[in-house]
Chain length 256, copies 3
């Protein structure tokens, strides 16, 4: 990640448009996800009852579907929200948390893939499983490197027409033809719950920006990597990392 890869142009778009981002995400990371979006200037909203989710995803600029704490009723509401977003021409992003390791959510994610996500963001195990190339990881942790899942990510991108981001120590963002590589970040990010899930929310919001979607999603990955690097340098552990990370996102590129 070179300085010019921070993509200040996309960041400016993100802050001035303040994408209204409908997050249907897991119960563990909702607060952090909202705070990450707010720190970057977006407008997060979590709306979950089926009737409301359907109504809201047509209003919002972007929709995030994260299956971390999927339930039967949440799955039903997610499906209605996705269909409504698609009908309204709004992009939706899939975070297939722990897909491959757990059968129920794996079936669900395979079904909704047919509803044309604009983007998919996962770790190596999840992307391998979603592409049908692996039995998946150990719970939410990946047992593979992002690089090892790059062929799967490229195949998945070609198969679904989604931009696929397979993230880890290095992030790869691909449309199946072109692949961008984003380095940076810090291992401390894996000791704070929700950094990956929050990245998916930023990816979701970035899908609503003008310009090239592959570039915008790579920019989202770059902002999170950069903030992670800056925050780790100022932290004594994962506790002080989290507020420093939000401050770094807020300050990115000089704010305001």
């Amino acid at each position: 990640m070179q300085p010019d890869l921070l993509n200040l142009h996309a960041l400016h778009h993100f802050r001035t448009r303040s994408p209204l981002t409908h997050c249907m995400t897991n119960d563990v990371v909702q607060t952090f996800t909202a705070n990450v979006l707010l720190a970057l200037g977006a407008s997060p909203a979590m709306v979950i009852e089926a009737e409301e989710a359907e109504q809201f995803s047509a209003i919002a600029d972007a929709l995030l579907i994260n299956v971390g704490t999927l339930t039967a009723s949440r799955a039903q509401a997610m499906r209605r929200a996705i269909e409504s977003a698609v009908a309204a021409g709004k992009p939706w992003t899939l975070d297939p948390v722990a897909v491959g390791a757990l059968a129920y959510r794996t079936r669900f994610c395979q079904q909704i893939l047919a509803l044309k996500p604009a983007a998919i963001r996962g770790n190596a195990s999840e992307i391998l499983a979603l592409a049908g190339m692996s039995a998946g990881g150990r719970g939410v942790d990946t047992t593979d490197t992002a690089a090892s899942a790059l062929p799967a990510a490229q195949a998945l991108a070609r198969q679904t027409n989604a931009i696929v981001a397979v993230t880890g120590e290095v992030d790869y963002v691909t449309d199946g033809l072109r692949t961008l590589t984003i380095t940076g970040g810090d291992p401390l990010m894996t000791r704070v719950v929700g950094t990956g899930c929050a990245l998916s929310a930023v990816v979701a919001a970035s899908c609503s920006l003008p310009g090239d979607r592959l570039d915008n999603i790579a920019a989202a990955c770059g902002w999170m990597k950069r903030a992670g690097t800056l925050a780790a340098a100022q932290s004594r552990g994962p506790g002080s990392f989290a507020p420093a990370f939000l401050d770094a996102l807020w300050d990115l590129g000089g704010q305001p």
Copy 2:
């Protein structure tokens, strides 16, 4: 907000009585809400299954109803909790998150208004919508200033007999006849999820205090504004703001 308007008398009551506050609130802000109440000396408890919610709201000193992530089953449990609180003579407070923008929760809030809330706390768009004077905001964000919603707040207060707090850059607290104005705070508060929702919880707890309810609710608004001002002065962004805000609430007026 002048120093004497911090209302140290009400703050002392709040800390020594430690109101047991039953929070039926949205999934995104539960932790922050609990921590705000704890920092101020209250005893928060989140109880959500209908049978338990009904039992608990008769035991607790105050009840908060926040519809941010309303579901059908939560709505049913809320209704039973409210009825039980009312039967036991305990005050309940409504936070009509995103009412006006979303049809399902708008219907629900209009129905439960008949159950006589002691207080209503919302932003301008929400209060305008609840008073039937607007179609509501863009998601959870307000598109109106609090001042523009003051006539609606006053009308709503007269119509429901509740104290209505319409909050934003300036807060107004009204019973329809008398109106108190609270200034202070910091724009950074809008970049941390749950500051408004947590204020509603403090308002709910304040409804259980002895003395004039309008004054007590204005005091609650003043404590949050003051803590926001103090925290912003010590923060580098929204990440460091949140812990500084809780510390400031804890320290308010010299603690302990």
Copy 3:
């Protein structure tokens, strides 16, 4: 708590084994629970749909059942997860939040006691109620000291064959015959939501370690007490306490 009671041997086991800990816990403390486990080197995962919870608790190293925001559907999923864990020979830990005060969860906890928890962690009121010796506390707060509940904890341990930890200003860990006492910590821990619930998660994870279970659970209590003491010394209030507490857990015994 003497320095040698920090049990660095157990801490080393905890960090190197990184127990995959299935947390079925309440909505208010999920993020903090996950971050506490991550700071100590464990792998938390929250999986809640009945089918998935059943599958996952057989894969995970340990299961936590916390009834803080119990619902009917969550109770059903918990029961299936427990049965699956037991069948797979995996230990499960009960945190009976507010048992005694609320009838629905009290019945549920009494029923699942028959499914042989490896450990039970609660405050004095909860342990007294679970042992059938008290009507329980005021909401989630205890109205008794841990010492006053020690006989109840010992009786409950003998009756259930679980290790029982009754925690408060002083922690007692007992198998009904042997009792270990852990001192330390700080009153500020009671002003941050989830410190007790997170301790239960660490206790749950510790049940999967090799060696003496009583010692391992006492070690878990000791780590949290020590981190609480260290964090309080560096905090200005409950807001700055929480990140300092996670940093202290991360640093415990010199990390990494």
